[in-house]
């Protein structure tokens, strides 16, 4: 098998806060193959967004710091690059799409300039060429009347159109990897579907791999090839999407699946919530971060941290228990 496009190894990112040192991402390792869509799913505080920001070295320091690990992209460890080196990669080989398109677009630059900027910067194309390319990209993300809209300002765009413009910007240099952090959380459901479909189809066309950060298990099911489930800053389970939904092996993944109401679910059934509250990241337990909420936890789960181990092909879980019986029931 070819080398994966991205290899994240033992990534650990901490933040200094008033409440103490917070380990937002704790020894996280995973791969992304070329052209693959990997979803990182988790609830607030699970570390999914900080993982994405760490890959691109976008952690504000202080208060944050990438403590250790490797992010090997295309054979190069991004964590060892200097500022010039990482800037040459951002927006070129790796592009990022954020949740809030209004705050990630510059209000004082026209849409065309912002989309053309990476082409001008990374490809050294003159501005006339970059703007022409921006027009073409706006058309590709299906903004009507793209030639005229290239001179528009961000405030003249609706939320959905801004996110389309962000996608156009991300596609500008045909990146090998697009990292999208909750790209549609701020949008209405019908627009969410449009944007995710567009993102997925454009990534496929450009041959780009996609890391999709989301809390929505429906979105994961529709768009992801593989899933990384995070809890308390750690990966608790990872598997191909079909396997994960059919045979979740970690009690947290199983709990998540049982707690979401489904459009096609049985309405008379009571939802099965995960009892308790998410962990305090400043005081993570010695053992499994989920142990305090886990119905099956033993003393060992509280004392010892379970390693991420293979339970099947491309399927890993970090749990001492054999929760298989439940999954197959």
């Amino acid at each position: 098998m070819a080398e994966p496009l991205l290899q994240v190894r033992d990534l650990t990112t901490r933040f200094r806060t008033d409440g103490g040192i917070v380990t937002a991402v704790d020894s996280v390792s995973f791969d992304v193959a070329a052209g693959e869509t990997v979803a990182i799913v988790g609830e607030s505080g699970s570390g999914k967004s900080v993982t994405a920001l760490s890959i691109l070295r976008l952690i504000p320091n202080p208060p944050g710091k990438i403590e250790r690990g490797e992010v090997i992209f295309d054979g190069v460890d991004l964590l060892k690059l200097d500022d010039v080196g990482i800037r040459a990669i951002r927006g070129d080989k790796i592009a990022m799409i954020f949740q809030e398109p209004m705050s990630s677009l510059n209000p004082a630059l026209t849409i065309g300039k912002q989309i053309g900027e990476p082409i001008n910067l990374h490809r050294k194309a003159p501005w006339t060429v970059a703007i022409d390319k921006a027009k073409e990209l706006l058309g590709r993300v299906r903004i009507p009347d793209a030639a005229a809209r290239v001179g528009a300002w961000p405030h003249q765009f609706s939320g959905g159109m801004r996110q389309r413009a962000m996608i156009a910007m991300a596609l500008a240099c045909q990146p090998k990897l697009i990292v999208a952090d909750e790209p549609t959380t701020a949008l209405d459901v019908t627009v969410q579907a449009q944007i995710l479909d567009l993102l997925k189809s454009q990534a496929r066309e450009a041959g780009s791999a996609l890391i999709l950060i989301t809390h929505d298990l429906g979105v994961v099911a529709r768009y992801a090839d593989r899933v990384v489930v995070m809890y308390g800053g750690r990966i608790v389970e990872t598997a191909p999407a079909r396997i994960l939904y059919k045979f979740p092996r970690h009690p947290y993944t199983q709990g998540l699946m049982a707690s979401i109401p489904r459009l096609d679910g049985d309405t008379r059934q009571r939802l099965v919530p995960i009892e308790g509250q998410p962990p305090n990241l400043a005081q993570l337990p010695l053992g499994c971060a989920f142990a305090a909420r886990c119905r099956m936890a033993t003393q060992r789960c509280h004392d010892e941290r379970p390693p991420l181990e293979a339970v099947g092909e491309n399927h890993l879980k970090a749990c001492f228990l054999d929760a298989r019986a439940d999954a197959h029931a």
Binding site: E43, S44, S158, G159, G160, M161, D188, V189, T190, V191, Q192, A193, Q194, D197, H215, D216, L217, G218, V219, V220, A221, R222, Y223, A224, A241, R242, Y245, K246, G255, L256, M257, S259, I260, P261, R262, L263, D264, G265, T267, R270, L271, V272, P273, I274, E275, Q277, P278
Partner: protein, 333 residues
Amino acid sequence: MPDATTPASDDILRVEDLKVHFPVMQGVVIQKQVATVKAVDGISFTLKRGETLGLVGESGCGKSTTGLAVLRMLPPTEGRIVFEGEDIAGHDEERMRGIRKRMQMVYQDPYGSLNPRMRVRDIVGEPLEVHGLGDDRRALRERVSALIAMVGLLPDMADRYPHEFSGGQRQRIGIARAMALEPSLIICDEAVSALDVSIQAQVVNLFMELQQRLGLTYIFIAHDLAVVRHISDRIAVMYLGKIVEIATRDELYRDPLHPYTQALLAAIPIPDPELEATRPQQIISGEVPSALRPPPGCRFHPRCPHAMDVCKTTEPPLKGRPGGRAVACHLHP
């Protein structure tokens, strides 16, 4: 509590042709009205005692405005709001005071809706004091403790401040406060939307348990159709200030009639990769237009895959069908 003024019918709320319009003003010194936002533009529905009505739609559809108008926290421009047999649409503040005891709201943001300087005990007890029910301090204390226990919080949490709680626990505090005056109608405005999924299920279950125990009636406003389906008996779908379809839960999800309802349901992914792979993808184009300039005719026609000529000129009325279902669409005359 039902009393002599309760009509024979078991409708707790009847909203008739409700309109909530906002003027758009321009000018610095001399203000002139330049336009009108018709946030809610003539909607009607009824609510039976003990029932849950889901109110769904995308931003700008008027679902939250409807909730606020029913509570009279926004003035209705036109229409009737008949609550427990009494039309409250024209009531002044004085007369609304007594009514508000019986209708309460639970808000979306459990961070912004709790006073950070008040202890949980005082937040939950405040409605009782405001309504003059707090004079017997011991009784007040007991009542507050009972409310705190009812929503699944621990007794020692009463003396803590909101910042010490997680989102789900804060929402429980908000629910305890809403329950303090023993209301009959509770309007939940995106009450579980900001919560993580594992916590959301806890709060949804709490709403349903309280309803069973106390016979509450809910208007459950949300954009998440899966949650709404789980909790509601009937559902009204809104688009740009209008109800486009209203039906029982099972009818609406099994056989949505309005193209907008169909589009909304199709847009929501189901957490099952195998099912998603085979599910027909019918994603509608466009976005919700500005409520300042709603399209003529059917407001959904620019995005509707089935739009006909008549849809561009004539607004379809919400037509009742057998079984209490209603739809506003020329395809279903």
